[in-house]
């Protein structure tokens, strides 16, 4: 019963949250007014005015980017947790997001660019570094402990994150003005997002998210173990590579636009799993929607709680995430020792 309810509630809840986030802010606007402005914006009959400028130029692109980033991060977390049968796996805990940040920073420092596409160089480097980090972490984890025990892979991720962070600090110190602050890369921010950012995120989520959603059945088999998945008829290598590539592209795009926003992919799939169970054919789409809602609310808290000071969005997600990490680790350990 609770399952069906959550399933049907998520899309309208997401729409309402988006509306709320567009309305709320340092200049609050009523929902009716907001809807009118949105309608005028859609039909191209703008009347001019400060409300319109705030909503159409500032808040709407930001809200769209936040929703799409939240959806992507959460979906990536859910997919990695299935692939590695490890409920603690996530872009931030494995260090994949840090790797992507390093790639993005390197691209800026070295001035890697594609002609005509101003952000493409940063983005591609972030994706490549995300894939490289994921491959490195998995190789190390397999070499140390084939069963991919919960602790081992997370430890490797932590060490890798620290290593990458120090490299990032080094680069930023020497690069000076060229690069956004270290806060942006370690805690993330989606203020100043544009429609181009939103469109890029939407494109990545459509392609890579679609590929991940289609693998729900295969990830269920993976959740029983890689060998078991092979016996059940899953093309293990193909599925693994697809998930790794899709996750890397999505994380690369998210990181180059919004920096490293941690723990979304850890918290949301876990909560969704509590309600819907571990079936990835339901878990993946539900995590996608719930992740968007979660990050929208986190962003809302970040920019209204101590207004006019804006908290980095990663501060809010990490506060929730750290607590969730402990809970999941505790439950997973207890289950492990009970068997």
């Amino acid at each position: 019963m609770a399952r069906k309810l959550l399933w049907w509630c998520l899309p309208p809840v997401l729409l309402l949250t988006m509306l709320l986030c567009v309305c709320a802010g340092s200049v609050p606007l009523s929902p009716g007014e907001t809807l009118q402005i949105l309608w005028r914006g859609l039909t191209g009959t703008e009347a001019g005015g400060s409300g319109e400028a705030i909503i159409l130029r500032v808040r709407l692109p930001r809200v769209l980017c936040v929703a799409l980033t939240g959806a992507s991060l959460s979906l990536c977390g859910a997919a990695m947790q299935g692939l590695l049968r490890n409920p603690l796996a996530d872009g931030s805990t494995l260090g994949v997001s840090s790797g992507a940040s390093l790639g993005a920073i390197l691209a800026i420092v070295l001035g890697i660019q594609f002609p005509g596409l101003p952000f493409a160089g940063t983005m591609v480097m972030a994706m490549l570094f995300a894939f490289g980090s994921l491959a490195l972490i998995l190789t190390l984890a397999y070499a140390l402990d084939r069963s991919l025990a919960t602790g081992t892979i997370i430890l490797i991720g932590v060490v890798f994150s620290m290593f990458v962070s120090s490299l990032m600090n080094l680069l930023i110190t020497f690069a000076g003005e060229k690069i956004k602050s270290i806060t942006f890369w370690t805690l993330g921010s989606l203020s100043g997002s544009t429609y181009v950012n939103a469109l890029t995120l939407l494109l990545a989520l459509t392609v890579c998210g679609g590929a991940l959603l289609a693998l729900g059945g295969a990830l269920n088999a993976f959740a029983l173990g890689e060998e078991q998945a092979r016996h059940l008829g899953v093309s293990v290598r193909r599925v693994k590579l697809t998930v790794m590539a899709a996750v890397s592209v999505l994380l690369g795009v998210c990181v180059s636009i919004g920096g490293t926003i941690g723990f979304v992919g850890l918290v949301i799939p876990h909560m969704v799993r509590l309600v819907l169970g571990p079936d990835h054919r339901r878990l993946l789409p539900a995590s996608l929607l719930a992740g968007a809602v979660f990050l929208l609310l986190a962003d809302l808290v970040g920019r209204t709680l101590l207004s006019p000071v804006e908290l980095p969005i990663g501060v809010v997600t990490s506060l929730v995430g750290a607590a969730a990490f402990l809970v999941i680790f505790y439950r997973s350990r207890k289950r492990g020792s009970a068997q």
Partner: protein, 257 residues
């Protein structure tokens, strides 16, 4: 011939745990792979079913197992092993339904006309029809093993491979599982190949047996012919049969009291 293995060598890290093993398997047979620890039993089974790289040949109805697509192989061969992760708390039905993965067709692998009936039959066969919606964490160890047995039944293979399936189970569950498999095998066109430590079980349920001695095939044939007192003594380095009889004699004295 269902499975034909010729001159198969395989192992880990460049060292062959199995050397030049040859045997075959026909429908209706239950082949027991026996031998002391480290003789290469699991390696042989893994290689013969295409899980581990090997030299030599292993053919399933004339097809090289290494060249078969994972899904095509899974429609003919199912493997029940004890190395299964239960980190995520699936329901009984979800685990059993995964057995149908290779049979599903279409873009999202959703079309499987026989699926529902096969799942229901498998659950009924292992006596878990009323636990369909239960979560794995709510079941006993014996029940969990029956869930995975139902999964391979739902997979509807021709060859069922068991890698030490009952090692950690109580004697009641061992009998239950082996009886279920024995009944499954008796339908036409089916065969079982299993790795077992317990020689009593091997002799009781196996129609055929293969005895491995440090990676080489010491004997292969009908169970009664392959597992003789002399051969077992030779391979295990002690009079195994004498010891098994001695163990059973403990109970005779306690019966009289």
């Amino acid at each position: 011939m269902m499975l034909t293995v010729r001159e198969l060598s395989a192992g880990y890290g460049g060292q062959d745990a199995v050397r030049k093993a040859s045997f075959s398997l026909e429908a209706g047979q239950w082949l027991m792979i026996c031998g002391p620890n480290g003789a290469g039993k699991s390696t042989l089974v893994k290689a013969a079913t295409g899980t581990l790289p090997f030299q030599g040949t292993a053919e399933l109805y004339g097809q090289d197992v290494r060249r078969m697509q994972p899904a095509a192989l899974a429609r003919r061969v199912a493997v029940l092993s004890q190395r299964v992760s239960t980190e995520y708390d699936f329901t009984v039905e979800q685990v059993v339904a995964l057995g149908r993965y290779a049979h599903r067709k279409g873009f999202l692998r959703s079309a499987d006309p026989e699926g529902e009936a096969q799942i229901a039959r498998a659950l009924g066969a292992v006596g878990l029809a009323d636990k369909r919606a239960a979560r794995l964490s709510a079941l006993s160890g014996g029940e969990v093993q029956r869930v995975f047995l139902a999964q391979v039944f739902a997979q509807d293979p021709e060859l069922l491979v068991l890698d030490e399936p009952v090692n950690h189970l109580d004697v009641t569950y061992q009998k239950q599982i082996f009886d279920l498999i024995d009944r499954w095998r008796q339908a036409p066109g089916r065969a079982v190949m299993s790795v077992v430590h317990d020689l009593n079980l091997a002799r009781r349920y196996g129609t055929h047996a293969l005895l491995l001695d440090r990676g080489r095939v010491a004997a292969w044939g009908e169970a009664g012919v392959a597992l003789t007192r002399e051969r077992l003594a030779e391979v295990y380095g002690m009079d195994v049969l004498g010891w098994l009889r001695e163990l059973l004699r403990c109970w005779e004295t306690s019966d009289k009291k």
